[in-house]
């Protein structure tokens, strides 16, 4: 062969864009294989000119493939490098290419799932949701922009990284940087989760524990306030001085619990849910169950 065929940056951008649709024909037999071959098509067209070579390449890339959709990018990059070598006459057989794909998809899914699904998405989602629940339109905008920038940058740079590192990528991934990122992300994630469990799981117990008749002078004596604005002023002064609003002090079960630490019941509920999930109870069952509990406890006057 006189001249070496190389994939241009434009080719690699086309493949990067197409990898967005990796899961489009996700199926129970070979999972992401259709999307994978769809992403590889620009490379196959560029690298192989004869019909026979193209047919072989298409069939080669319709084999089973499944990983986290974003970390498929470095695998794509490595595969591109291998296919390029092969098209230029190097001894890269089908088994080597399939081996690299299968060898990388498992460990990388193990990175992609915790980093994106269990850390980035809950954190961005929770922050954005808090804004949205307050009626702030910035919530969804921030979510959309941050998420897509993160995703697109990750996919492009890891694909390029894979392409350049070629078959050496698997070794590089065991290096320190990735571990640091994973660990740092899980520290931040757990910290935020602790805060969110406290703030956003709402459980309020309404039963009244005690009603105490307060002694005179401990509450605002509404009947004997001066008339007009002077009365309002006196009431505010007495309130600021710590007087109660009515002559009976009501303490609910929730008030008592809050004296231990606010958010105790949400914490216990979360731990209980973790236990149920570990016992393989379906999250859907738990969710529906909690709705039932909410209705029943409300009817019983507990919540």
């Amino acid at each position: 062969m006189a001249e070496e065929i190389r994939l241009s940056k434009k080719d690699r951008i086309a493949i990067w864009w197409r990898s967005t649709f990796l899961q489009g024909s996700w199926n129970y037999e070979r999972m992401q294989n259709g999307g994978w071959v769809y992403a590889m098509i620009p490379a196959i067209k560029k690298l192989y000119k004869t019909k026979e070579e193209q047919k072989a390449a298409l069939q080669r890339h319709l084999e089973f493939f499944n990983t986290h959709p974003y970390v498929a990018s470095p695998i794509l990059g490595v595969t591109l490098a291998l296919e390029e070598e092969r098209a230029n006459g190097a001894e890269v057989d089908d088994a080597a290419i399939q081996g690299v794909k299968v060898g990388m998809m498992g460990p990388l899914a193990g990175v992609g799932d915790p980093v994106f699904w269990f850390t980035a998405k809950p954190i961005i989602g929770a922050l954005a949701a808090s804004l949205a629940m307050a009626g702030n339109i910035l919530g969804p905008i921030i979510y959309f922009v941050v998420w897509n920038l993160l995703r697109m940058a990750t996919m492009w740079y890891t694909q390029e990284f894979g392409y350049k590192a070629g078959s050496k990528i698997t070794e590089d991934l065991s290096g320190g940087l990735l571990q640091d990122i994973t660990k740092g992300a899980s520290i931040l994630g757990m910290f935020i989760l602790g805060a969110l469990v406290n703030r956003w799981v709402n459980i309020t117990f309404t039963p009244i524990v005690s009603s105490v008749q307060l002694s005179e002078g401990a509450y605002i004596d509404w009947k004997n306030l001066p008339a007009g604005t002077e009365g309002i002023k006196t009431a505010f002064e007495q309130f600021a001085a710590g007087r109660a609003l009515s002559e009976v002090q009501v303490t609910t079960l929730q008030d008592n619990l809050d004296m231990l630490i606010p958010g105790l019941a949400p914490l216990l509920l979360t731990l209980f849910c973790m236990w149920l999930l570990k016992k393989n109870v379906s999250p859907i069952v738990i969710i529906l169950g909690l709705f039932v509990v909410g209705v029943v406890f409300h009817l019983l006057g507990i919540m």
């Binding site: 069939q59 919530g139 931040l188 149920l276």
Partner: protein, 268 residues
Amino acid sequence: MDLNLIQIILVLVVAFLAGVEGILDQFHFHQPIIACTLIGLVTGQLIPCLILGGTLQLIALGWANIGAAVAPDAALASVASAIILVLSGQGEAGVASSIAIAVPLAVAGLLLTILVRTIATGIVHIMDRAAVEGNIRKIEIWQWIAITLQGLRIAIPAALILIVGAGPVRALLEAMPAWLTDGLAIGGGMVVAVGYAMVINMMATREVWPFFAIGFVLATVSEITLVGLGIIGVSLALVYLALSKQGGSGSGGSGNIGDPIGDLIDNY
């Protein structure tokens, strides 16, 4: 409230996008916070749908497609509940009952996803034959057909809800007694815990549990906003990483794999 033709078309477009994204998981149009807001935007009920989206997003925090497992379907849950909220005309007051409707819908959506993923098995067999023929165009076309099916998975149910119309939907919602809607709202306050529990189960190790505790306690100080908590969290992570490196060989980093509270829960 009734929608005009343009609004109906736009709602169906959003539903289609959400369905496509439900499988692709890329742009995240299917996430409640995006899908509900878009439906609110095209129907002129932005704020109630925005609040619905935020609330549903919290519930769906830990829903993820992992490996071959399929998560409850956020796409149908958010699209359908937002449409129902809009049609009911209840505004923000209808958010709690729409959420209660969303959860069963997430299960229904799950079944539809499984159906389409099974159909896609047939599609890749057509791709196999196209590959033998060397017909690149045909493979691309079938990839797009598969994606379109996923879009229709949400667009068709959305159209059905629109056809049934505001009347029955409103009647259904108004027929709900106060104890039921109040109770469901209370339940809604609790179901968020399930999402957190799923995420914690994935992330928790002996090493990171203390950070959960610190976050939990600091959250009781209501003056610290979430952004403030975020800054504290990042700082803690950086400090920890720096210190564990200084600790040098052995003692600090490696031996700490495990999840004591998780084990406790396991053994209980």
